[in-house]
Subunit: 217 residues, 2 copies
């Protein structure tokens, strides 16, 4: 298809497409004549991937570039690229301060208690977890120990298991990767949003639900 059609079908602006082409994030089109180029399904897929990562995942350009390098590296299997993708997502939202050793240890303990032996010891998210735990502990507002965290780990385990088991396998490498990366980022956001909505509901229930104002309505 022509570039105008690519803009229409992906809703990515022409200027952004040209930028991605210059930066090598989007492969060059096939030259048909000196003045016209053909884009195909692979371009549509790549643009969709980049859009979700940027708009939902909030990834900066450096992370997008890194990720595209991994996707395009035929020496990496799908799982390895997925792991790099989660590293890129995690690195884009890493809290500032260095965690203390106790928080690092707590992060490792939670993962060990959950039985997640497939987690790389140098996963960026393991470091992020330690950083967030250090911040929460620093506030002095919450008891933060492995039993409190087991609630979150167990919910996370149930969701992740269902998600991974439901992933269709056997599509092309590009489609499988796109699905995993989009799924991680977008449904992660879905879960975060739903939790906040559920908190609003349950807090309303607890603090106002049985009050007279509610009954009078």
């Amino acid at each position: 298809v022509q570039v105008s059609e690519l803009v229409r079908s992906t809703s990515v602006p022409l200027a952004t497409i040209k930028y991605y082409l210059r930066e090598g994030l989007l492969p060059a089109a096939r030259k048909v004549t000196a003045r016209s180029s053909e884009y195909d399904e692979a371009h549509v897929r790549r643009l969709t991937l980049l859009r979700v990562l940027r708009e939902v995942g909030g990834l900066p350009m450096t992370a997008l570039r890194e990720l595209v390098l991994a996707v395009d590296d035929p020496g990496l299997d799908v799982h390895a690229v997925f792991a790099r993708a989660t590293d890129a997502v995690a690195a884009a939202r890493r809290p500032d301060p260095e965690p203390d050793e106790a928080s690092r240890e707590l992060a490792r303990t939670v993962v060990a208690r959950a039985g997640w032996t497939g987690v790389r010891p140098d996963a960026v998210d393991l470091d992020n977890l330690a950083r967030v735990l250090a911040q929460v502990r620093g506030t002095g507002l919450f008891r933060v120990d492995e039993r409190v965290l087991d609630l979150y780990a167990s919910a996370a385990d149930g969701i992740a298991r269902a998600e991974i088991d439901a992933l269709p396998r056997g599509d092309s490498r590009a489609v499988e990767l796109e699905r995993m990366v989009v799924g991680t980022v977008a449904f992660g956001e879905v879960l975060s949003i739903l939790r906040r909505l559920a908190e609003e509901h349950h807090d309303e229930r607890v603090t106002r639900g049985s009050g007279p104002a509610q009954r009078a309505e």
Copy 2:
């Protein structure tokens, strides 16, 4: 305490503290002499709140300012301020494109099916949910219907119920608010991180777990 002690106990840099004072995000200190001011527990709490919102929640200054106005408004009860806080957090991560009507309807359906009657119809997160769903549907990679979303809603409900029921009540308004806002933001990040770690584990299990490379180790 002196401002130097405030810097030490909160790890917030002096320049940031001065900036917050100028912007009205931090109440002025009590003047003891012409050259010395006394900061108290309320300053420590406010700085901790701002730090978590900024570093973990990624809130921009405009959102922090809005939130502080709500926290300081005695006419708003704790639940109302909490709702505004979640709006500020949601607004800071709102995906760009306008959602289509079908995605809006799906977002409302998910919340209705979950029984979350306490969710305000104009909650920013309800709009965010529609936006993320529109993006995922746009990729054509996933079936996105209410049954798929029930999995996430049900996990979110279980977590939120446990979180809200476990909240200690009866502290001062300031402490209660701080705990709710920090809890929403920080444990939301904990849950997101744990889900990604669990996905890494389960994907490793499915794609490599039963392979010969694993057994040979």
